[in-house]
């Protein structure tokens, strides 16, 4: 088992596609055997996906995207913290290291995974990524709580408008006085 910092770098290179063929094959063999390493790879993919969304949102200047960017930075900071802990743990027995790594991965993944409960399927390595448009649904704190893919930006915008209009109407009903002005007697 690789120490977590080396392992993460290796997986980053694997995702970047910069590994030599034999190195990539070795990583894939490790992945088949090591569930924790597979989780780490999954986590890295999710973070990359979130990063793409955040940057795309920032281009549009959305307030929600600013909040997402802050969360992303916070998640990276937490991740670095966990990495430092893991470096200390590399001198501990291998079994304890496995436990710590598992904990570290879980802790690191918490911030990024929580906002992404939707069925985000990572793009397979080497497969051409078919990027399309999605609407990230955020809660009142700005956390992404679900993601809906669409075939076009028009569809995504219509859905966004529908959701906003419905919420606006509901808020008006909540805050306004509702008068019954016509009925059957």
């Amino acid at each position: 088992m690789e120490p977590i910092s080396d392992q993460t770098e290796l997986l980053e290179q694997y995702l970047d596609g910069t590994l030599e063929a034999d190195e990539a094959a070795r990583v894939e063999a490790l992945l088949r055997e090591d569930a924790a390493m597979r989780d780490t790879l999954e986590q890295l993919r999710l973070e990359r996906d979130l990063r793409v969304r955040v940057f795309a949102s920032l281009e549009g200047g959305h307030r929600e995207a600013d909040a997402a960017a802050e969360r992303f930075v916070a998640s990276v900071a937490r991740r670095e913290h966990v990495r430092r802990l893991a470096r200390m743990a590399r001198f501990v027995a291998a079994a304890a290291a496995v436990v710590l790594i598992g904990f570290g991965i879980g802790w690191t993944g918490r911030a990024a995974l929580d906002p992404q409960p939707g069925p985000v399927t990572p793009v397979a390595q080497g497969e051409a990524a078919s990027y399309r448009v999605a609407v990230a649904v955020t809660d009142d704190a700005g956390n992404v709580v679900a993601v809906q893919p669409f075939s076009s930006i028009d569809e995504a915008e219509r859905f966004s408008r529908d959701l906003k209009a419905w919420q606006d109407n509901r808020r008006q009903l909540e805050q306004g006085g509702v008068l019954l002005v016509g009925d059957r007697f």
Binding site: A56, S130, A136, D140, F159, Q175, F185
Partner: protein, 410 residues
């Protein structure tokens, strides 16, 4: 005294003596003016304190009919092919606040080739129009579902919304923001809004006039009058006095208690109020409930309230017709020269109904029910709740007033 006057006249002459007398009396006149204001202040405080003993603040659940009114427009219904997680999120919503959306590149294909937007339909049209009024601008939105029409009124007063029903998002903590009155010694409370039993998953919290808290349970509610009756677990507060008068006399002084910001103010009653609040007469009796132009008389509502206390519901005979309030600014007011007179428009008469048998027709203007002026649905429903025997409708048709007796099916 006579000696003093003689000395005064001899020494300074009679004109100067009169002036001195006036100046001497001036402070007395000023003092009386101050006394009147203080008296008014004392009277107002006494009235407020009297009313406070009969008023409680209650924390109500969000009304379910909000969702019913908007059901056809819910995005989860309009967009059939949503991801299950997205569907769940927008159906449940956030615990407080609202959901936002950010359009981003996606990394996954859709479940099938169908476009989600293919299922979208054109939504209902909201009529939003600003209405000038003494209290500022009101936003009105008219909605229709079947035979039922509602108007949502959101008045803007100095940037603050004045609310009919206060909804606390998330319902976290104790935040009583709605008003109720104590009806009787048994602890029945009247809330002048409509809430359904299924919204109550247990007792609601109540803050009594003296600041103590209590719990109350649902007893019954009536959609057409817009009334809900609750009952305190332990009776408390002083039962309110219901005015004998069906409405305040125009020009009389009233106190209006509003759930918005715990506001209470004295006002001169001009026949209607664009506010939402309880209308209290100068003698401390509750006269009725002002609802953005509608006025539900407390005395006329008593039969419906007693029915709610007794059985949890209000039974009314059925005319078999759809009536709609003719609101201020409606073209029908000018067409029929109604002025400010309360009136309702018969939109539809059901074939074979009691209304049709009595000769009522679509297009008729209803002026009175059982000799009581009717201009809105809650008043119509309240009068009908007291029905006993045939009902009499005063109708305006072709410029003439006619009376129709409606006999209901037994």
């Amino acid at each position: 005294m006579q000696m003093a006057v003689r000395v005064c006249l001899r020494s300074i002459g009679w004109p100067a003596c009169v002036l001195a007398g006036v100046l001497a009396c001036a402070p007395l006149a000023g003092g009386q003016e101050t006394s009147l204001l203080q008296q008014l202040d004392r009277e107002t405080q006494a009235l407020y304190q009297q009313v406070q003993r009969s008023v409680v603040r209650v924390q109500l659940p969000p009304p379910a009919w909000l969702d019913e009114l908007l059901a056809d427009e819910h995005p989860a219904r309009r967009w059939q092919q949503l991801d299950p997680e997205v569907r769940k999120r927008i159906e449940t919503g956030p615990p407080s606040g609202r959901l936002g959306t950010v359009i981003v590149p996606a990394t996954q294909p859709s479940a099938d080739g169908k476009q989600p937007g293919d299922d979208a339909q054109d939504g209902a049209t909201w009529q939003v129009r600003p209405l000038p009024g003494p209290s500022g601008v009101q936003i009105e939105s008219r909605r229709q579902k079947g035979d039922t029409q509602v108007i949502v009124v959101t008045p803007q007063i100095d940037g603050e919304s004045q609310l009919g029903l206060r909804v606390q998002p998330g319902q976290a903590g104790f935040a009583p923001a709605n008003l109720a009155i104590v009806l009787d010694e048994a602890g029945h409370l009247l809330v002048p809004v409509y809430l359904q039993q299924r919204q109550f998953d247990g007792p609601v919290h109540v803050e009594l006039g003296d600041g103590r808290t209590a719990r109350a349970t649902f007893v019954g509610s009536d959609r057409q009058t817009g009334l809900t009756v609750l009952k305190l677990d332990q009776p408390a507060g002083a039962p309110v006095r219901i005015s004998d008068q069906p409405r305040p006399a125009e020009g009389s002084l009233v106190m209006i208690l509003s759930p918005a910001n715990d506001a209470a103010r004295l006002a001169v009653w001009t026949g209607a109020s664009r506010e939402w609040g309880m209308v209290i007469a100068a003698d401390g009796a509750v006269v009725g409930f002002a609802r953005h132009g509608q006025f539900l008389s407390a005395s006329l509502s008593m039969p419906a309230i007693r029915a709610l206390i007794g059985s949890g519901q209000v039974d009314r005979p059925r005319f078999g017709m759809v009536v709609v309030e003719i609101r201020e600014g409606d073209a029908l007011r000018q067409k029929h020269a109604l002025g400010r007179r309360p009136a309702m428009h018969v939109m539809r008469v059901i074939p074979g109904s009691a209304a049709e048998r009595a000769g009522l027709r679509s297009g008729d203007i209803v002026l009175e029910l059982n000799d009581q002026p009717v201009g809105d649905v809650p008043t119509f429903a309240a009068i009908l709740a007291a029905h006993d025997g045939p009902a009499t409708l005063t109708i305006l048709r072709d410029g003439r007033q006619e009376r129709f007796e409606v006999r209901f099916d037994q």
